[in-house]
Every structure is written in structure tokens, then in C-alpha cells.
């Protein structure tokens, strides 16, 4: 838990010695609370107070990074149980597991598909993040597979092996990529040393939270600080219980030993069932999700759900404000105007597409507000719309001089006609009315 300025003040010497550069201890405490200065500035702090302040400054769920460069994945650092309380910060990593008994060609083929799992939705790039290589055969095969994966994808790597020797060799090959270590052996003695030596994050696996908690404390003592938690393969409801408990204990009880992102392995053969199980964990607190299948539709649906769940509820997604031709729109197509709030735009778009009538949608920059909100906040005014008509080239795109406005802002018709010189037609209040409206236009 973060301490308030007053909480911190109580821990300070209260001598107002000014050596920290502030006039009073209280002023210094306030700056500490804002994380604007370092506690090292106070030379008289007791060791106990220093320790308290240092741990209070850490996030309750540690940020763990896997990979390097552009494809670096950062998970953790979450602060709430429900996204409406603030937001979910770091979108969970999604990846698939490749077995080392595949031939090099098969691995390349799979990577070909995985590397193409990139989509664009509502102006955001969506992609999978990780490829795990699992040892099912000899160490030699495992290392070959690791090398092959490393050379054929830029995504983050997860090394799944039971043999510390093979792990060490794999870490040597991949050390510049900062892979995640997933040891299948259950013995962490050598593995912890390797994680430390190669500065790689490590998955701590234990079936129950008690064992998991002592394992992470143990690993911590051995100098491993970037840890990811896994409670093994269980029925969905049991996983949700573990994920919820870990999140609650880390956030509400400041349990440091469980304050790490969580990893789940989904073990289902049917791609729809696999996607549904994974979707449950996207919603319920997973930091990393590893799948068996590599399938475009499945990846798209999971990445889309991740985008939804990790959207900041206070900052609506926006689309680029401009003129969008829908279908084979031409000079005679109707021209509709709406806001640039992505949900509004995509709802209108869906209905216009459903009407099968080629149209233009002019999206006005309302800073991501919906029609009525934007109108009330004066972001969707006749002047703003006219501005947008002129800048977007809407007048050149259509030969007619008509524009359709949402029914909720019918009141602006006169002013907009005056400002734009276009004939204003009042459309339906709800987008659902558009197909019927456009057909009768």
C-alpha cells in the first residue's frame, strides 16, 4: 500500500534539519509521497523506517518484463480488482506452446502462422506476444528447437524444460532475448541460480497458494526478483479462485510473496473451448496465457477481448475523425455525421453496413464523446460539424447538398443549415433505426 504524506512524516526524524533541501520534514514527506524525491536525501532516517518506506514504494504486483526490444512484454503492476475502479494496466501476454519433437520445418510452419497473428482494430495494433518451447524429447532436440524459434520470430520466448543443463544451454543461446524460464522439474535449486545468472524472469509453480508463497520467498532470498506465478492445470473455476485470491491478497492484504503477475496454461484440444477458457482468464486477472493451438480466429477473438478488458474506462477509445466511405459509396450516396467515439462510430457503421446502402460517414472530432455527451459539452456543435465538413472534403465527395444528423441533435438543424449551406435531414435517434431510415430516404 502506498503511504500518505502524513504517514511518511510520522516515520521521519521531525527535526527540520533542512539537510534534505526542504524547509521542514513535513514538506519532505509530501514530496516523498509524490515520489518526487529519494528517501536517501534524509541522512537521519532509522533503518526500520527506511525499510518501511522502501517497501511501501513498490507496486503491490510487481512489473515483470520478458523479451527485449520492440517485442518486449511487460505484465503486472495491476492496482485494482475491477476495471471500473481505475483500469487494468498491462494487457496480458498471449502465446502458444510449441513442442520440441516437431521437425524444424513444422516449427517454421507454425511460426509462420504465429508471426502473422497481427490485427488492427479501432486504430490499435493487436498481436500475440510469446512463443513457448517445451521439451518433450532430448536436450539436443530442445536446443535445436529453441535456436530455430529464436531465429524465426521476434516474439518473447518461454523456455519449458525439466533439465537444468538444457536450460542453461538454452539460456546461453537466448540470453539477449530475456526469455521467461518455466522449469518443469519442480526443483528450483539450480534453476534459481540460472535465473539470477542470466537475469531472466522465472515462473514459480505450486499447486496451492501456501506453497507458492513460500516458494517465492525462497526464490527472493536466492536473489530472483522477477517472478511469475502458476498454480498448475486445474478446472476453470479453481483457476479463477486462485487468480482472484492471489490478486486480492496482493492488493488488499499487501501480501508481497504473491505480488506477482500470474501465468496460466490452457490445456484443451478443441480451439473453441480453448479460446473460451482463455477468455475467462483474460477477464479474470491472468498476466500470461499460454495456449496449445495456433489459430487465427482464436487469436483475433482473444486479442479483441484483451483490448476490450484493458481499455481505460475513463478514456474512451477514439477513431480518427475523417470521412469514411462505406461500401461502394459514390457521389449520390447519403452523407451521415456522427462523433469519433469508437463505440458510436462502430455502431453507426454496423447499421449502415446492415442497410447495404453505400454511404459516407463523417466522424467529427468530439474527443471521444458520444453524441449526446458531446452535444452537451459543446464538442458536437454546428460550427464543429461545419469545420469537419470543410476539412474532410465531404462536400467534394458527394454531389448532393444534404447531410443526415443523429435524431438526438435535431435541435441544431437550423444552425447547421445556416453554417454549412447544406440541407439537414434528421436521422433516427438510435443507430438501430438507420437501415429502415436509409431505405426510405
Amino acid at each position: 500500500m502506498a503511504l500518505s504524506g502524513l504517514d511518511i512524516y510520522k516515520l521521519l526524524p521531525k527535526t527540520n534539519c533542512r539537510e534534505c533541501g526542504f524547509v521542514t520534514c513535513l514538506a519532505f514527506a509530501m514530496q516523498l509521497a509524490k515520489k518526487a524525491v529519494s528517501i536517501d536525501k534524509c541522512p537521519y532516517l532509522s533503518p526500520d523506517a527506511k525499510k518501511t518506506l522502501e517497501t511501501s514504494g513498490q507496486p503491490p504486483i510487481k512489473l515483470v518484463t520478458i523479451g527485449s526490444g520492440e517485442e518486449k512484454l511487460a505484465v503486472g503492476n495491476e492496482t485494482v480488482l475491477f476495471r471500473h475502479e481505475e483500469k487494468f494496466h498491462n494487457p496480458c501476454g498471449i502465446g502458444s506452446i510449441l513442442n520440441d519433437n516437431l521437425s524444424e520445418n513444422e516449427i517454421k510452419k507454425q511460426l509462420d502462422i504465429i508471426n502473422k497473428l497481427k490485427f488492427e482494430r479501432i486504430g490499435q495494433a493487436l498481436e500475440v506476444n510469446l512463443v513457448a518451447i517445451k521439451q518433450n524429447s532430448t536436450a539436443e532436440n530442445f536446443l535445436k528447437a529453441v535456436a530455430c524459434v529464436m531465429n524465426n520470430t521476434r516474439l518473447g520466448l518461454v523456455l519449458m524444460t525439466a533439465e537444468p543443463k538444457a536450460l542453461k544451454e538454452a539460456l546461453k543461446i537466448t540470453k539477449d532475448r530475456r526469455p521467461l524460464i518455466y522449469s518443469l522439474s519442480g526443483d528450483y535449486t539450480e534453476v534459481a541460480q540460472l535465473a539470477k545468472e542470466f537475469n531472466a524472469p522465472l515462473v514459480a509453480i505450486a499447486q496451492n497458494l501456501e506453497a507458492l508463497s513460500s516458494l517465492t520467498q525462497d526464490l527472493n532470498k536466492q536473489g530472483v526478483s522477477e517472478i511469475v506465478l502458476d498454480t498448475g492445470i486445474k478446472p476453470i473455476k479453481d483457476k479463477i479462485w486462485d487468480l482472484t485470491q492471489i490478486r486480492r491478497l496482493a492488493l488488499k492484504k499487501s501480501n508481497r510473496s504473491l505480488g506477482y503477475p500470474m501465468l496460466v496454461v490452457v490445456d484443451k484440444n478443441d480451439p473453441v473451448e480453448e479460446a473460451m477458457e482463455a477468455a475467462s482468464y483474460v477477464a479474470k486477472y491472468a498476466g500470461i496465457i499460454l495456449l496449445k493451438n495456433v489459430n487465427t480466429a482464436e487469436a483475433l477473438s482473444l486479442l479483441t477481448l484483451r483490448q476490450n478488458i484493458y481499455t481505460d474506462p475513463q478514456k474512451p477509445l477514439q477513431i480518427e475523425p475523417k470521412l469514411y466511405p462505406i461500401g461502394n459509396a459514390d457521389k449520390n450516396s447519403p452523407l451521415l455525421v456522427t462523433t469519433n467515439f469508437s463505440l458510436t462510430y462502430y455502431t453507426v457503421l454496423g447499421e449502415v453496413e446492415a442497410s447495404k446502402i453505400p454511404s459516407y460517414i463523417l466522424s467529427v472530432d468530439t474527443e471521444g464523446m458520444s453524441v449526446l455527451t458531446a452535444w452537451a459539452a459543446e464538442k458536437f456543435t454546428p460550427e464543429k460539424i461545419n469545420d469537419s465538413i470543410n476539412k474532410s472534403g465531404a462536400k467534394e465527395a458527394v454531389a448532393h447538398k444534404k447531410i443526415i444528423i443523429p435524431g438526438y441533435v435535431a435541435v441544431m438543424s437550423g444552425d447547421l443549415e445556416e453554417a454549412s449551406g447544406l440541407q439537414v435531414i434528421v436521422g433516427p435517434k438510435e443507430a438501430a433505426g438507420l437501415p429502415a431510415f436509409l431505405k426510405n430516404l
Binding site: 475491477f82 476495471r83 471500473h84 482494430r121 479501432i122 497458494l209 501456501e210 508463497s213 478446472p235 476453470i236 473455476k237 479463477i240 479462485w241 482472484t244 485470491q245 486480492r248 491478497l249 488488499k252 492484504k253 501480501n255 480451439p271 473453441v272 473451448e273 479460446a275 473460451m276 477458457e277 477468455a279 475467462s280 483474460v282 477477464a283 479474470k284 480466429a297 482464436e298 483475433l300 477473438s301 482473444l302 479483441t304 477481448l305 483490448q307 476490450n308 478488458i309 481499455t311 474506462p313 463505440l343 462502430y346 455502431t347 454496423g350 453496413e353 446492415a354 438501430a432 429502415a436
Partner: protein
Amino acid sequence: MELMFEKWAGAVSVLNIGATKEEGGTRAKTIQIGGEKTLPFLFAEGALPHKPVIAFEIWDVPPQDWPGEKDVLSWAEICAKDYGAELLCLRLQGSHPDFGNKSAADQAKLVVQLLKKVSLPLVILGCGDDTKDNLVLPACCEAARGERCLIGSATQDSYKTLTAAVLADGHNIIAESPIDINIAKQLNILISDMGLALERIAVNPTIGALGYGLEYAYSIMERARLAGLSGDKTLACPFICFVGQEAWRAKEAKEAGIEQGILWEAITATALIQAGADLLVMRHPKAIEKVKKYIGGLFRS
């Protein structure tokens, strides 16, 4: 290590759909939804006595933009016999002035025929045109008197006629609010003020499909459920989510082949189930099969 259990003061209300012979109706069984005493699937923390239930959506007229059967009676029978439906959701789209403008008397007759054809409990929906629905739905309520259907939808602008009809003929009501928790609460209060118990209301929070505003309904549902569990009875009604209708409007569902469409509907349902959905109205039999299996897995002890 001490785990963290929340102590919830409230519980979601239990809604009964369908009345059996003993209860004055003709349905083979009664479907119960709601009753949760904790957040979705935290079984160790509180009771979740009733599984989320899926209703097959059927239309009185052949749908134009998704495949259905021409005859609604045989459609209902296919759902019941071939797909093992537990619940049907009849949308009276044909009442709409643009889709056939069927009369209240005709629609009431259809409801009677459907009740004879299948013994499943029913959800009955209007066409969305308030004026017409206020004529048609009361006639259907009367025709299905005593069958304890779930009828919708009441909105903030139009709830009085439907509430009165539902009250008179012993049904339940769907209260629809536009992704707004305050309106949802307000509408529940308005309806219960007319004498219809809160236990007879299902809330339609108005969902968006995966990728189309799903997260708004997701968070409204989480907030309402937290309020309900904390003791606010006016927000403790079960949720009904129109998953099929929204999912199959998504570009990703329509344009990339049927498998992706099925996935889109199934994942939309999954996310909403995790937010607390109690009744899902769905379309594709394969998606329904998968979601039903998923729900079964969640409840397996």
C-alpha cells in the same frame, strides 16, 4: 495462509420462468436463474445456486440477416428436439410496421400455438416499436396467462403498459437500460412501484459484442452485481444478455466464415458470463452447445 473472503450482505434475486401444471401453467418445467451470493464462480466464497441458462432465439418471421426457419413453430420444435433447448426466446419481429405489421390478435394466436407446440418456458420479445409493442405484448401476456413467461422489454420511456400487463397475467418483465447503471436502478424502482416485485424483473443492461463495446456492459454488470451483493435490492436482479443478436452483427462474425462467427458469439457469451450474466439469448446451435458445455464445466464439482 489466510485467504480473503468477502462477506456479502445481499444476494441476487431468483427469477422463475415457466409455470408447470401444479403452478397453473402448462410448461414441462420451471427455469430458475439468479440467486448468487458471491461474484461469478467463487464457489468457495458463496452459493451460486443456479447455472446461467441459454435461450434459443427464434423469430415469428424469417430473419433477413441471419439464417432461421421459415415457420416459427417447426423452428421451436427443432430447438427443443434436435438441440435440447431449455428455454426459447420468441422475438415478435413481424409486429413491426416495416416487417409485416402483424396484428396483436395474430401475434397472441401465435403465442398460443407455440405454447401448444412446445412445453419449454418462454421469453417473449416485442419488435422494438414502442407503440406497436404496447398493443401486441399485452395481448400476448393475456394469451399466455399463467405460463409465467419473461416478457420484454420495458424501457424508461415505455414501461407502464407492459408492467401492467405482466402484473395482470402473472409473468416476469425485462427491464432494458442503455448501458447505464443509474437508469437500470431507476427503471427497476419505477416498475416495482407499480406493484411488480423486484424478484420478477430481469435486467437487460444492453450489451455490445466482443470488440463492439463489450467492456461497457461488462463493467456496468460488475458494478451492478457488486451493488446487489452489497445489499442494494434494486440492483440485485439477474441479467439477461442478447448475445446472439449483437455478436452476429460484428464484422468479424459475418465476414470471415462461420467458425469465426461461432467463436465470436461464444467468446462474447463467455466474457459476459464472467461478468455475471444469468440468461443468454443466443443464435448459433454450435455456439450454444459450446457455451452450455462451458457452463457445465464451471458448475461441475
